[in-house]
């Protein structure tokens, strides 16, 4: 049994954990949810032995585990890759085991079996940095399982996985549970996962466990409510269901509801009927990620590409963002002519600068003629004003503009990333996974600001494998399968999410069949 008592951790003037108590039994899967900045990340760092608590104890099987000892008993699977990029997948699984042998360890049948379960056998000898995010995450998880730690902490483990892979992941997690030797803690923003796989859910707010949910009380609605507190009490918001107050039409901006962030005020585009993006016969220059694609995004439209990680969707939008070589006919390319476009990568490690402050991160994409005088001298007042503006508009919680970006919680960092894309006042946003790894409240704020952006006449082209994200944000969706795009389908928010999921499935099957012929 794992027991945390009275954990306190302060970072300067901020108290991240304020006396947290937690108990988890062997063979249990305990879910941990909570809003941005509630202390979930700090809790993980403390348990993993990455950060030392100021007060409180961590006890495992009635024995107190000191900070230095924790890595021996606790394994953490993070959101972003923390493995060894130059080693192969198999080597990443092996490393750290058999530390008293002189010769390199060979992969035992057991390890190979786990690798097989995760579908890693095919890529076992490939360097892990040449593998997709999917494979990297699966390796992380397989590694935690192979090294048989008593406590396994999953920190948003499936944020970049497809539904199928996510299912497979949780199959493994449940197998862990059945073996009855491990304690599993699952930190997640995905309420559906928490409801489905956890025995109990603990909701953390302001550094301590505020609500404990179990059994029938552990529904997604209840968890959502507990996370946000009373703020959303009279709004039935669950991921996947239509937004309240009848905002079903793609043209209407999300109206203010209780507790929903005010729609961001963005200057509307002067009436333009021209398309924001129009490309024909677009093909990948470097590899064969996509070939002869026709894509059009109109003004005031949000087009989402979805699909599996190997479908070519990500590569396609990166090529339109100008970051990947491509060939074809560009009738209208964003970022050329009068259009200003901003591209935001999917993961924060690729979009934020850890050595820079919040203000600098918000201003880093701005053109020199905006943030500097003619000779190149920076205009700190303009930078401070711009940064203040976006901190206010997106409700970014930070102690000061000069605070290092690393001092902010994950969801807040995502808001800074989005703010930096908005700061250029673009007419086209090119995004990947815009609400990945953020909590409900932040997600709502981001969704509302993106919808307001589109309602003002601007355009979005995005890739997201997450159907609920697509459902909430897109006007049209196309599925990328094996380098080709399906026809577009308009999102109808009066239909449930399941209808969209069925259609996507159908597209996947149809196009996979075509690709094979």
């Amino acid at each position: 049994m794992l027991e945390l008592t009275g954990l306190v951790k302060r970072f300067g003037s901020t108290t991240a954990l304020s006396g947290l108590d937690l108990r988890a039994d062997t063979g249990e899967i305990v879910g941990i949810a909570g809003p941005n900045g509630a202390g979930k990340s700090t809790l993980i760092h403390v348990l993993a032995g990455e950060v030392e608590e100021d007060e409180g104890t961590v006890t495992l099987d009635d024995r107190q585990i000191s900070y230095a000892d924790r890595p021996r008993h606790v394994s953490v699977v993070h959101q972003e890759l923390r493995l060894f990029p130059t080693l192969t997948v198999l080597e990443n699984l092996l490393i750290g085991s058999d530390s008293n042998r002189i010769l390199r360890p060979k992969a035992s049948p057991e390890i190979r079996a786990v690798a097989e379960e995760f579908g890693l056998t095919a890529v076992a000898d490939r360097p892990i940095d040449a593998c997709s995010i999917v494979v990297q995450q699966l390796t992380e998880i397989a590694r935690a399982i192979i090294h048989r730690k008593r406590v396994v902490l999953l920190d948003e483990p499936n944020s970049a996985l497809t539904a199928d892979e996510s299912d497979r992941l949780f199959q493994e997690v449940q197998r862990l549970k059945e073996q009855g030797r491990t304690i599993v803690l699952l930190v997640s923003h995905r309420l559906a996962d928490l409801e489905r796989y956890c025995d109990r859910v603990l909701v953390i707010r302001e550094g301590t466990v505020a609500t404990r949910l179990k059994g029938r009380a552990m529904s997604t609605a209840a968890i959502a409510q507990a996370i946000v507190g009373n703020v959303l009490a009279d709004v039935e918001y669950t991921i996947g269901k239509p937004m309240p107050h009848g905002a079903a039409s793609a043209d209407a901006a999300i109206p203010d509801g209780p507790g929903v962030a005010p729609a961001v005020d963005l200057a509307p585009l002067e009436g333009s009927a021209a398309n924001a993006i129009e490309v024909r016969d677009w093909s990948d220059a470097r590899g064969a990620a996509f070939a002869k694609v026709d894509l059009t995004v109109g003004p005031g439209e949000a087009v989402f590409i979805t699909g599996q990680e190997d479908g070519g969707g990500r590569e396609l939008i990166r090529s339109i963002a100008g970051l990947r070589g491509c060939m074809g006919t560009a009738v209208v390319l964003p970022g050329t002519g009068n259009s200003v476009s901003s591209y935001l990568p999917g993961s924060r490690t690729s979009s934020l600068f850890p050595n820079l402050s919040v203000r600098a991160n918000l201003c880093v994409r701005l053109q020199p003629n905006v943030i500097a005088h003619r000779g190149g001298l920076l205009r700190m007042d303009v930078m401070t004003d711009t940064a203040s503006e976006w901190v206010h508009k997106l409700e970014i919680k930070t102690s000061s503009l000069a605070a290092p970006i690393g001092s902010l919680s994950g969801g807040t960092q995502q808001k800074v990333a989005i703010g930096s894309a908005f700061a250029r006042n673009p007419t086209v946003l090119i995004l990947e996974d815009p609400t990945r790894g953020v909590d409900i409240k932040t997600r709502e704020q981001i969704v509302s600001s993106l919808r307001a952006f589109v309602a003002a006449g601007n355009s979005i082209l995005a890739f997201s494998p997450e159907l609920d994200e697509v459902y909430e944000l897109a006007d049209k969706v196309r599925v990328a399968v094996r380098g080709k795009l399906s026809d577009a389908k308009s999102i109808d928010r009066s239909q449930p999410l399941e209808a969209l999921a069925e259609w996507v499935d159908l597209m996947n099957q149809e196009h996979a069949a075509v690709a094979l012929t």
């Binding site: 490690t349 979009s351 850890p354 050595n355 700190m380 901190v391 503009l401």
Partner: protein, 333 residues
């Protein structure tokens, strides 16, 4: 949420001030020890000596700081220092007017930097390997063009007064080095901390992937940092050429290490994205205090090298030890 600009700048500067305080404190302690053991450390003449020799290390150090903050490294700066000085000396002794010889010497420095930048960005060779190679290349060129003979200018070459002034002149009783140092510090501080260019250097060094995603001109900025570093090395070489009234074929061989020591003591991170001009200045100062004191004590060149090495290790260890457990508050901008 109200954020005060001034307040936030003060808070961010707090950790830099703390670091500088520690370094200056260490310099003071060392000074006291040297004074106690030799009796002559705290004298006007000795302070002048410290200033004279720290100036070139600081100036080259500013170039190295730019390169390191951009996430790269330049091991060839010592060789560039020597090559540029030798070029100036040779041209001048071949009756090229001194001001032109100086300008050409600086141009040599720029070219040397440009070659580094080109190889690193276009051929994508790792900067350590590249500049290790060019270090040897430039040293070789220096030896070759000088025929392994030092150049000592004779007074009948034109502009001899100007020549003497550059490195040995005095203005209002103070060595002219102080003015070169102040000017260089002011300009490079502006460049790194107050221009768009400097902002981009910090971003690129902090996360080159994000920098590319943000469409920053990564290659162009990196090449520019190398060119500037080469130019600064040339300037330092020429000042020292005047200071010691000659340039030897092996000039600058110990400069690379001293410059790296100064930059690292000053707080720059070898992984990129972090580093300050003032930090490098104070690092150069501390280093020179130690070198100077050891010299007064009669320690040979080997002992001095030993100490410089030790200082770097202590500086890095102290830095790691004081930033354990707290989130790094020093930000690049």
């Amino acid at each position: 949420m109200k954020v005060s600009g001034m307040q936030s700048i003060l808070r961010a500067g707090h950790d830099l001030v703390a670091r500088l305080g520690v370094l200056l404190g260490a310099a003071l302690v060392a000074g006291l020890i040297f004074q106690a053991t030799t009796g002559v450390f705290f004298s006007v003449g000795n302070f002048a000596s410290i200033l004279l020799f720290m100036t070139s290390v600081a100036i080259v150090g500013y170039g190295q700081t730019l390169v390191i903050v951009a996430g790269e490294l330049d091991l060839s700066l010592g060789a560039t220092y020597g090559l540029s000085a030798m070029a100036t000396g040779l041209l001048w002794s071949a009756w090229v007017p001194l001001p032109i010889a100086i300008a050409l010497g600086i141009l040599v420095g720029c070219l040397a930097g440009f070659v580094n930048g080109l190889i690193i960005t276009k051929l994508r060779v790792n900067s350590f390997i590249t500049t290790l190679g060019t270090m040897n290349l430039y040293q070789g060129i220096t030896l070759y063009v000088s025929n392994n003979v030092a150049i000592s200018p004779s007074p009948n070459q034109g502009n001899f007064d100007l020549y003497e002034f550059i490195g040995t002149g005095h203005v209002y009783g103070v060595p002219v080095q102080i003015f070169w140092l102040i000017i260089a510090t002011a300009i490079m501080w502006m460049v790194l901390h107050r221009t768009v260019f400097g902002f981009r250097i910090a971003a690129i060094g902090g996360n080159v992937v994000a920098a590319r995603a943000a469409h920053l001109p990564v290659s162009r900025v990196k090449v520019a940092t190398y060119v500037i570093a080469g130019a600064l090395a040339a300037v330092a070489g020429i000042v020292d050429f005047s200071l010691v009234s000659s340039v030897s074929p092996t000039a600058g061989s110990t400069m690379t290490f001293a410059v790296l020591a100064a930059v690292i003591i000053g707080g720059a991170s070898l992984s990129g994205g972090r580093g300050t001009i003032i930090g490098t200045l104070v690092g150069a100062f501390l280093l020179q205090v130690l070198t100077n004191g050891l010299g007064l004590l009669g320690a040979g060149a080997y002992a001095q090298l030993l100490f410089q090495g030790g200082v770097i290790l202590v500086a890095v260890a102290v830095d790691r030890w004081t930033s354990r457990g707290r989130s790094k508050v020093e930000v690049a901008m």
